[in-house]
């Protein structure tokens, strides 16, 4: 099981930053692309991505695969995704451990999954079908959640670890999502990180969240919080080096601020790696 090589430190490709990226070719190692934004017939989105792809490696990151839904897999969607992957040759393709709708409806949100044996069987089988169709392993991301279900029979991390084994897929570990869910559901985030098989992790997500006192929400509209940076250091110690990416989807700062945040991630990774080497020596 050969993991894709780490891409380094990347950012999300968002329209508000197209001009910065095209004109200044910033020191970003790679870019994560929201797959659905480019599932269009043509025009500016596709032309822009072609120009950017000429200079940067990309990862295709989807929000609508709905891998945990009990609705049939959407093969029109998967065909479009395969077409994008064939055209733009991403380092890998990822989506979320969630469902986005049933009965023909799309809720455009990452809906939570009950951690049951039934759900595990169902999602693992569907990941297998998707991987067969796309002809590649995909990476599945843990989501932030705001409810837990009485039906759940295991912890989230037990479910995620078993899912990766059963489906033989990669994992995209969203460090902020672990932190948000840990607060909302009163678990220790280190427990999640310590439980996952390092051989499955191909990418980290970092992002900001909103703190409502009684609960936290994964908003991607703030800088990465100090607690999430600390958890990232733990994750890097256990899993690094893997591809790292900072997500920003609202209250967009000047691009230079995101580059500075990415440099902070690099510094943490270097410090943790140096400490590991020192300890080993």
């Amino acid at each position: 099981m050969q993991k894709p090589p780490p891409l380094g430190f990347g950012l999300g490709l968002r329209p508000v930053y197209y001009q910065d990226i095209l004109e200044t070719k910033p020191p970003v190692d790679w870019l994560e692309v929201i797959s659905e934004n480019f599932m269009v017939d043509g025009g500016s989105p596709i032309a822009t991505l072609e120009r950017i792809r000429a200079d940067y490696p990309i990862v295709l990151h989807g929000v609508s695969m709905s891998i945990a839904s009990t609705a049939p897999l959407d093969f029109d969607y998967l065909t479009a995704l395969k077409g994008l992957a064939d055209r733009f040759q991403p380092a890998f393709v990822s989506d979320h451990l969630c469902w986005t709708g049933v009965h023909g409806v799309n809720l455009h949100d990452l809906m939570p999954v009950p951690y049951t044996a039934e759900a595990l069987d169902h999602v693992a089988r569907r990941i297998g079908q998707v991987q067969d169709f796309l002809g590649r392993r995909i990476a599945i991301e843990n989501v932030s959640s705001y409810v837990t279900f009485a039906e759940s029979e295991m912890d989230e991390w037990t479910f995620v670890k078993a899912l990766a084994e059963r489906a033989d897929c990669w994992l995209l570990l969203d460090v902020n999502n672990i932190f948000v869910s840990a607060f909302n559901h009163d678990f220790e985030p280190r427990q999640f990180i310590d439980s996952i098989d390092a051989r499955r992790i191909v990418q980290f997500h970092l992002a900001g969240h909103a703190d409502h006192g009684t609960h936290k929400i994964d908003t991607h509209d703030e800088p990465v919080s100090p607690e999430v940076w600390a958890l990232f250091a733990e994750a890097w110690r256990r899993f690094g080096p893997v591809s790292v990416m900072i997500e920003r989807d609202d209250k967009f700062p000047p691009f230079a601020e995101l580059l500075a945040e990415l440099d902070h991630a690099r510094r943490i990774a270097i410090e943790v790696s140096a400490a590991k080497i020192g300890a080993a020596a």
Partner: protein, 257 residues
């Protein structure tokens, strides 16, 4: 509860009033099941409202936040998304306005919405390499009357109330809307040029006729005849050739047959 039942109940609660799903949700130390679930039901409406605001910023400026908010709320309650790409959710807003009180009788905001949607549609429609006017050089002059033209998929011809384009331009700049001058319509051409810019211009009656006929496959000769019928003058062929030259220059023509 089986997974399929849980998902159906969860979705029903997000879309509507049924709260049967709450029995399956654990409380947290700080929140009861209803408050936890509300994160999802509120986020659903906020996200869809965000799609509408992104696609119709000028309509929002034109009718104001309060009326736009009421329109968005009504649209969301009446309209489910059935497409994985959020890009398509807001497409039917002009049709919704045409069919729904109190907007159905307000042609000006409806036309503004239709114009804004046409601009969005042109943005990511299918690409086709535009033909240069030099494509005509290979055609003997005596065969010009039989020429037919294929146009870019991005091309749209919209009949909107007169002043819609001026209102769009004013509202884009947050400027006061100019007074409307009457009940007549103006014909607007929307398209995407080879540099991927979405462009538009208001057409006069003769160019509207010529372009409408050309885009449904009429020959250049037929178009000249229609123009001559409409406006008896000796300069019809020159006028039609002028339209044709401009369509080539604008990158509108995808093929010549």
């Amino acid at each position: 509860m089986k997974l399929a039942e849980l998902q159906a109940k969860f979705q029903d609660a997000i879309i509507g009033e049924d709260r049967a799903i709450l029995e399956a949700i654990n409380p947290s130390r700080r929140l009861d099941p209803a408050a936890r679930f509300a994160v999802y039901s509120q986020a659903y409406r906020l996200r869809l409202a965000g799609f509408l605001s992104e696609d119709y910023p000028v309509l929002r400026n034109a009718i104001g936040d309060e009326e736009f908010g009421a329109l968005v709320k009504a649209y969301i309650e009446a309209t489910l998304s059935h497409h994985p790409n959020a890009r398509w959710y807001a497409r039917r807003l002009p049709e919704f306005m045409r069919a729904t009180e109190p907007w159905r009788d307000r042609k000006e905001p409806i036309d503004l919405a239709a114009f804004e949607r046409a601009l969005a549609d042109a943005f990511d429609s299918r690409d086709a390499e535009p033909r240069e006017i030099t494509a005509l050089a290979a055609v003997p002059a005596e065969n010009w009357a039989q020429l037919r033209f294929d146009f870019q998929e991005s091309l749209a011809l919209l009949a909107v109330s007169r002043g819609t384009v001026a209102a769009y331009e004013a509202a884009s700049e947050d400027a006061p809307l100019p007074p409307r001058t009457g009940a007549e319509e103006e014909m607007v051409l929307v398209w995407r040029d080879p540099e991927q810019r979405v462009l538009y211009r208001v057409l006069d009656d003769a160019e509207t006729l010529a372009l409408a006929e050309a885009s449904v496959g009429k020959t250049f000769g037929e178009i000249c005849s229609l123009l001559a019928f409409r406006d008896a003058s000796d300069a019809v062929a020159e006028r039609a050739a002028g339209f044709l030259a401009r369509w080539f220059a604008d990158g509108l023509i995808a093929d010549v047959k």
